[in-house]
C-alpha cells in the first residue's frame, strides 16, 4: 500500500495548516487552517489504520470529525459574536487586553 504518499500528504497539509495559523490574521482563516491540521490527522489515522488492518484508526478519525464539528460550531459562534460587536474579524484588531 502506498502508505508513504499518504503520510507525505498529511505532513504537507499539517505544515500548511501550522503556517496558516501562524501567519493568517483573519479569524475564519485561522479556523480553516486548524481544520487542515485536523484533516491531516484524519488522513494519517485512516492510512495507518488501513495499513495495519486495524479499525481503531478509523474509529479515532470518526471521533475527531464529530468533535471538530462541535468545536467549529463554538468557534464560529465566538467569531460571529465578536464581529457583531466590532465589525471586524481581524484578530490583530482584537487587542483590548495587552498581550
Amino acid at each position: 500500500m502506498l502508505l508513504n504518499q499518504f503520510l507525505l500528504l498529511a505532513a504537507v497539509l499539517f505544515c500548511i495548516g501550522v503556517y496558516g495559523v501562524l501567519t493568517r490574521r483573519n479569524g475564519v482563516m485561522v479556523l480553516m487552517s486548524i481544520e487542515l491540521i485536523l484533516n491531516a490527522v484524519n488522513i494519517n489515522l485512516i492510512a495507518f489504520g488501513t495499513y495495519l488492518s486495524d479499525a481503531t484508526g478509523q474509529a479515532f478519525a470518526l471521533f475527531i470529525i464529530a468533535v471538530a464539528a462541535a468545536e467549529v460550531g463554538v468557534g464560529l459562534a465566538i467569531v460571529l459574536m465578536l464581529f457583531r460587536n466590532r465589525r471586524s474579524i481581524d484578530i490583530d484588531a482584537v487587542d483590548q487586553l495587552k498581550g
Partner: protein, 501 residues
C-alpha cells in the same frame, strides 16, 4: 434481541459502580437542562444550589470507590478507576464546588446567562473526571475536548463585553490549535504502534525502527499539552484570557483546566513514554526552567492582580512540570514525581481558588482588580486582607502555609534521582521562588500599608457563598501546611502503583 449482538458485536461489560461519579454528573446535567427549560426565570435562583448539591453527590461514589480500593479497568484498559483517578476526580469535583460558590452571586448579579453557565460548568467538570480515568489516546482526546469546549464558551460569557469575547477567542484559537498539534502527534504514535492504548504504546515504541518519528510524536504530544498547562513559550493566551474572562471562570480555568492538562500530560508521559526519557526529559526540563523563570519575571511588572495571578500561575506550572523532567530516571523517581505533581496540584487548587475568591470579594466593592485598588484593605476589611496574605504567601511557599509542602515534595522529587539535571532544576526552582516573593510581597504591602485609593473605607460585605469558599480554601491551606501528613496519606506513593497498568 440485541441488535448489536445480531451483527456480531458484544456489549462490553460495564462496571456501573466505577462509572457512578460520571453518571451522577450526566444526571445533574439533565436535571439542570430540564429545570432551566421548564422553570424559566422563576427557577434561576435554584441553579447554583442544584449544581453544588449535584457535585457533592458525585463525590459520594468517589468515596465509596476509594473505600472499596479495587482497581477497576474497563474497555480493555482504556478507562481505569484507581486511586490516582479517584484523587483527581475528587479534586475536580471539590474545586468545581468551590467555583460554584464563587459564581453564585457574581453570575446572578451580573449580566450573564445563568442557567447555561452552570450546565457548561458541569459539562466541563464531566470532561475532567473522565480525564482522570483516561488511559487511551482516544479517551484522553475526548476528555480533553469535553472539558475544553464548554470552557471556551465560559471564557466569552460576559455579554456584550469586548474583553470577554477577546478572552474567549484567544483561548479558543490557542486551545484548538494545541489540540490539533496533539492529535497529529497521537496519529503518529498510533501509526507506529498499532494501538491507542497507552500501555501498549509503551511496549511497542521501545524497539521501534524509526526513532526520529517517535521523537517527533513525543515532542508534538508534549507541546500540545504544554499549551493546555500554559507553559512558556506556549503561555501567551493565558494572561489575556484570565483577565478578560469573568473572574469565577478564570478561577476555574486556572485551577481545573490546568490541573486536567497536567493529569493528562502526566498519565501519557509516564505510562506511554517511560522508555523514552532521552526525549521527554530534556524537553520538559527546558520547558519547566523557562516557564518558571519567564513566568515570574513577567509577573513582576504586572499592575493588575488577575494578570499577576495568571503569570504566577504560569510560573507555578513550571514548578509542577519540574518533577516530570526527572521522572524517567527510575521507577522510584516516577513515583515521586507523581506524588509531587498530585500534591502540588491539590495545594495549588486550594490557594489559587482562595486568591480568586478574595479578588471577587474585593471587586464587589472596588469594581477593579488593579493592585493599587487593594490599598488599605487591611484597615477596612482585615479578614479579607489576612486571607489574601495567607494565599499569596502560600503560593510563595512560606511555611507553615500549604505551599511550602508542595514545594518540598517537588524538591524531593528533583533531588531523589541524584542527577545533575535534577539538582540544577532544584536550584532554579529555589531561585524562581525568591523572585516570585517580590510580587506576592508587593501585594501584601499594598494591602497592609498603603491608604485606600479613594479614601472609601466602608467594609466589604462578603456574601455567604463567598465566605464559605474562603473558609474551605483557608482551612485547606492551613491544615495541609501544618499537618502535611493529612494530604500525604492520600497522595502517598503506594496509592499510585496502578498507574503503570
Amino acid at each position: 434481541m440485541n441488535i448489536l449482538a445480531a451483527v456480531g458485536v458484544d456489549n462490553p461489560p460495564l462496571d456501573w459502580h466505577a462509572l457512578a461519579p460520571e453518571l451522577v454528573l450526566v444526571g445533574l446535567l439533565a436535571v439542570l437542562l430540564l429545570v432551566d427549560a421548564f422553570g424559566g426565570e422563576r427557577s434561576r435562583w435554584a441553579m447554583p444550589s442544584l449544581t453544588g448539591i449535584g457535585l457533592l453527590a458525585a463525590l459520594i461514589p468517589v468515596a465509596t470507590l476509594a473505600y472499596d480500593g479495587v482497581v477497576r479497568s474497563m474497555f480493555d484498559g482504556a478507562y481505569v478507576v484507581d486511586n490516582y483517578a479517584l484523587l483527581f476526580k475528587a479534586l475536580f469535583l471539590i474545586a468545581g464546588y468551590v467555583v460554584v460558590l464563587l459564581s453564585t452571586n457574581y453570575i446572578a448579579e451580573g449580566d450573564y446567562w445563568e442557567g447555561e453557565y452552570y450546565q457548561l460548568l458541569v459539562a466541563s467538570l464531566l470532561g475532567m473526571t473522565v480525564m482522570a480515568s483516561a488511559r487511551d489516546l482516544i479517551s484522553v482526546f475526548l476528555a480533553l475536548e469535553l472539558l475544553s469546549i464548554p470552557a471556551y464558551m465560559l471564557a466569552a460569557w460576559r455579554k456584550r463585553d469586548l474583553g470577554s469575547e477577546e478572552a474567549g477567542m484567544k483561548y479558543y484559537l490557542m486551545g484548538v490549535f494545541a489540540s490539533a498539534i496533539l492529535l497529529y502527534g497521537m496519529s503518529l504514535l498510533y501509526g507506529m504502534t498499532g494501538s491507542t492504548l497507552l500501555v501498549d504504546i509503551a511496549g511497542a515504541i521501545e524497539g521501534t525502527e524509526v526513532p526520529a518519528l517517535v521523537a517527533l510524536a513525543v515532542v508534538l504530544v508534549v507541546v500540545g499539552f504544554a499549551f493546555k498547562v500554559s507553559a512558556v513559550p506556549f503561555h501567551t493566551w493565558a494572561p489575556d484570557t484570565y483577565q478578560g474572562a469573568p473572574t469565577p471562570v478564570t478561577a476555574f480555568l486556572a485551577v481545573g483546566s490546568k490541573a486536567a492538562g497536567f493529569v493528562a500530560l502526566m498519565t501519557v508521559v509516564l505510562i506511554a513514554f517511560p522508555t523514552q526519557p532521552r526525549i521527554f526529559e530534556p524537553l520538559i526540563w527546558a520547558l519547566a526552567a523557562v516557564t518558571m523563570i519567564v513566568g515570574n519575571l513577567i509577573a513582576l511588572r504586572q499592575t493588575n492582580l488577575v494578570r499577576m495571578l495568571a503569570y504566577s500561575g504560569v510560573a507555578q506550572a513550571g514548578y509542577i512540570l519540574a518533577p516530570l523532567a526527572v521522572a524517567g530516571v527510575s521507577g522510584a523517581s516516577a513515583a515521586m514525581a507523581v506524588e509531587a505533581v498530585s500534591t502540588y496540584l491539590v495545594i495549588y487548587a486550594a490557594m489559587n481558588l482562595g486568591a480568586f475568591a478574595v479578588v471577587i470579594a474585593v471587586a464587589r466593592k472596588t469594581g477593579s482588580a488593579e493592585i493599587d485598588s487593594y490599598g488599605g484593605l487591611f484597615s477596612y476589611s482585615p479578614v479579607l486582607a489576612v486571607c489574601m496574605s495567607v494565599f499569596l504567601f502560600s503560593l510563595a511557599g512560606i511555611p507553615p502555609l500549604a505551599g511550602w509542602y508542595g514545594k518540598l515534595t517537588i524538591f524531593l522529587a528533583l533531588i531523589e534521582p541524584g542527577t545533575l539535571a535534577g539538582y540544577i532544576l532544584a536550584v532554579i526552582v529555589g531561585l524562581a521562588s525568591v523572585i516570585a516573593l517580590f510580587y506576592y510581597a508587593r501585594v501584601a504591602k499594598v494591602m497592609f500599608v498603603d491608604p485606600a485609593p479613594d479614601g472609601d473605607t466602608t467594609p466589604i460585605r462578603v456574601p455567604m457563598s463567598l465566605a464559605a469558599a474562603l473558609t474551605i480554601t483557608v482551612a485547606v491551606t492551613l491544615v495541609v501546611g501544618v499537618l502535611p501528613q493529612v494530604l500525604a496519606r492520600v497522595t502517598g506513593a503506594e496509592t499510585f502503583l496502578s498507574i503503570g497498568g
